[in-house]
Symmetry: C2
């Protein structure tokens, strides 16, 4: 099995990042029922090679430059292997004491690695969606005490409603959390962002004041350090001051960018996050940890616990210790701390910081290539390891306003690049523009992959230009 | 690493199931910060043996008879190893097509294995808590349309409130889901159960009618097949008829017992579950699958999707395919389907059914031992692979009513058994009585472990009796 993995790792760079496959292709090759009798391991490995691997988007491929990467370094993979063999469930301290305490310590390692003060403690969750949802429930209970018992309505003014504040660049997981918590999408105040896609703190202040006056019920402000589209950074220090002024829970979504707080030269970007009530950052994004692993840090442990916890008789242990089930929705909990322990000890903090720096350097070099080429333009200021850009279609010089035509050209360009399989880039939408997006973050990425991305873009551009000569009318 | 695991597996039966450890023991031995430089793998494995293993409750130990077991059979462990190496994120079809389609097929295998009709489809979640929460959100949106946009209040009558119906034996995860969804614990109607701990359908019917009349808003009925305390089985067919009558979403929590639907002789227990709107069952409980793996099955896929999904521009793919992120709160998703595929193919459905049967037989033999011994009595009808029982303290013959004294005696007895480390039993509370609980469910359990449990109980009983001779006043 270890051999199979080593072999997969070796041939990975030569596989296409994105599979050439249509919906249903894999499904149709899988039997409709489970077999009655056992099959040999060899048959499984053969099918793995024949059916599954060719149908996967390879997140560990060095050419995976889409979304935010998730990459599994060797220590993380080994830790997952051991965690599956141990198979402990750290729902209660008693049900896996060492796992519970290692989790506490690993959260502390992350806290120190990112320079956060000792007031923060936390837990591991599966994803940022779950972490932010847990934070929202704590914020809801603080703003509208009694919600856990009485539900939302009695806490909801006749005039006003619960409100969640976030920029128009915040991640969709906050929207889902707001839906799930019963607040409803209409409760979201989308604060405008500036031309660099950072929340406008004055707009936030105005909205909060107006809402207060109107009897609305501010529940949470979500600031983002490293937005999903452009990796822009909200002015957290100013937002923290506003949140303190109004006594509103401040949640900082640093799911992607969080690990970069370990770099002293980047600390100014994080100014003010130490005043947050809760922070989420995901080692399974920019810290080489296998999916899933999200760290939820919070300042008021009791606020989180009391907003959601419920202990039936069959889970009472009589032990005075922190039970991790109380800090999130799921009762059962995998032994996620093990992979952070393996990662930090096998690689060391210094090597992790070096990796982050090299990713940022690669992204900035790519941004320079884009800047220097007339066929492309930057679509947002490059930030951290993320670059948003767009092709300038050949005929477009005179029709810069024809957004639809430009968008369609960029869509085709991206599709062509991705179909070729050497690299995988993603896209986003910025002020109505379809924009291409390259984000560096994998433990496996090399300089040659970024160079390949640029060459693939040029090749696709020229191929599209040749196919469709500009219609000059 | 594989060697380490093989070695752990081998010495597991000789380790104490529960560690002899106090809160903070492990934490105090772990450095407060991550190391700056790398450490050799040997150092990690050494610390794993020295610090972690002795501090764990061993869920894979053959003497683990507490709660509901979660055990990781070899195929599941290997699949987790591979899944970590592949590290795909099946949030969108496009981001891991083969993983998304294997998940669809594995849910179908489970559906056929458990004899559910083809109207059901589903997804994998981490835990039953998340599965039931997802079901509740769909039920909430069906009962109170528009909640996802407007939130709960405008949907909440002046006279009435959203109501969730469950027996007094339902799992605490439903309570947490109700809190999280903004309905509030006071929205729960705890329907009384009969002396065998099964929901009283007449009481449910009366409560629903009364609530309808009073303008309350029924959202969901949760029936349980295999309750956590006693593995009792609610009369689902009758409950399904009532739910149809009132048009209320029926959720069936079969997290533990679900796999037993694969046994034809037990199908009567599941009568009516095929009429549910949603069902949860956990392969990571009674189906040898490493934690975490919960199957959420539902009848109206669109109801689940539309109650929660939210797709931002950067996640639009233009591909007509089911995106798994739309069927739960978390965006990122591990490749959980792989372990079900490995499990079913390496073991075969027949062997899995044989395992379930052997667990039930072991539990029933244990129940017979309890029945036959004057020092103990059954506290509930043994059901499936779960036995609830209590010791009858020596002096208690004349003071059967002194519940507190009996409870305290049983607490001490359980504590003594668990401290000895050969087996781990848990407890529950039934009508104010502290009750001991043995549940068989591990892939690794042997007849000798059940025998050992009984012998340990006897030994502890006699030791307690010797320590504290009955005070005859």
């Amino acid at each position: 099995m270890a051999e199979w993995i080593a072999d997969y790792r070796e041939r990975l760079p030569s596989l296409p990042v994105l599979p050439d496959i249509a919906p249903g292709d894999v499904l149709s090759k899988l039997p409709e029922s489970a077999p009655e009798g056992p099959e040999p391991l060899e048959a499984l490995l053969e099918d793995l090679d024949r059916l599954i691997v060719p149908g996967l988007t390879h997140w560990n491929h060095p050419g995976f430059l889409a979304y935010f990467s998730s990459s599994s370094s060797d220590p993380g993979v080994l830790a997952e292997f051991i965690a599956a063999a141990l198979n402990v469930n750290a729902m209660l301290w008693k049900t896996a004491p060492a796992a519970a305490e290692l989790e506490t310590r690993m959260v502390e390692w992350i806290r120190r690695f990112t320079g956060l003060p000792s007031e923060f403690e936390g837990v591991l969750q599966d994803t940022a969606s779950s972490s932010s949802f847990t934070a929202l429930l704590a914020a809801r209970e603080r703003a509208l005490p009694g919600t856990r018992e009485q539900g939302l309505r009695p806490r909801w003014n006749a005039e006003g409603r619960p409100r969640v504040y976030q920029s128009d660049q915040a991640h969709s997981s906050i929207d889902k959390a707001v839906i799930a918590a019963g607040i409803g999408l209409e409760g979201i105040r989308r604060i405008s962002s500036d031309p660099q896609f950072r929340m406008d703190p004055e707009a936030l202040r105005r909205q909060l004041s107006a809402d207060r006056e109107a009897g609305e019920l501010p529940v949470m402000i979500c600031a983002t350090i490293g937005t999903t589209s452009t990796a822009s950074v909200d002015p957290v220090a100013e937002i923290a001051a506003i949140s303190a002024e109004h006594g509103v829970w401040l949640h900082v979504d640093a799911a992607y960018a969080g690990p970069a707080a370990s770099l002293p030269e980047l600390r100014p970007l994080f100014d003010g996050w130490e005043r947050a009530d809760s922070i989420v950052l995901n080692p399974h994004k920019w810290l080489s940890t296998p999916i899933d692993c999200s760290v939820l840090l919070f300042r008021d442990s009791e606020a989180v616990r009391s907003s959601l916890s419920s202990t039936p008789a069959y889970l009472e242990t009589g032990v005075e210790a922190r039970n991790l089930m109380d800090y999130g929705l799921p009762l059962g909990r995998r032994f996620r701390a093990l992979k952070l322990w393996f990662l930090f000890r096998r690689q060391g903090a210094e090597a992790l910081r070096d990796m982050l720096r090299s990713h940022i350097a690669l992204a900035m070099e790519f941004a320079d290539r884009i800047r220097a080429d007339d066929r492309f333009e930057l679509a947002a200021p490059p930030s951290l390891s993320t670059v948003c850009f767009a092709a300038v279609p050949p005929a477009a010089a005179g029709e810069r306003d024809d957004t639809e035509a430009r968008n369609s050209w960029n869509r085709r360009l991206l599709d062509m690049v991705n179909r070729r399989g050497r690299v995988f880039l993603s896209h986003t939408e910025l002020s109505g523009r379809f924009v291409l997006r390259l984000a560096v973050g994998s433990a496996w990425v090399r300089a040659e992959d970024i160079e390949a991305a640029f060459q693939e873009l040029i090749a696709a551009y020229e191929s599209l230009r040749a196919d469709e000569p500009p219609t000059t009318e």
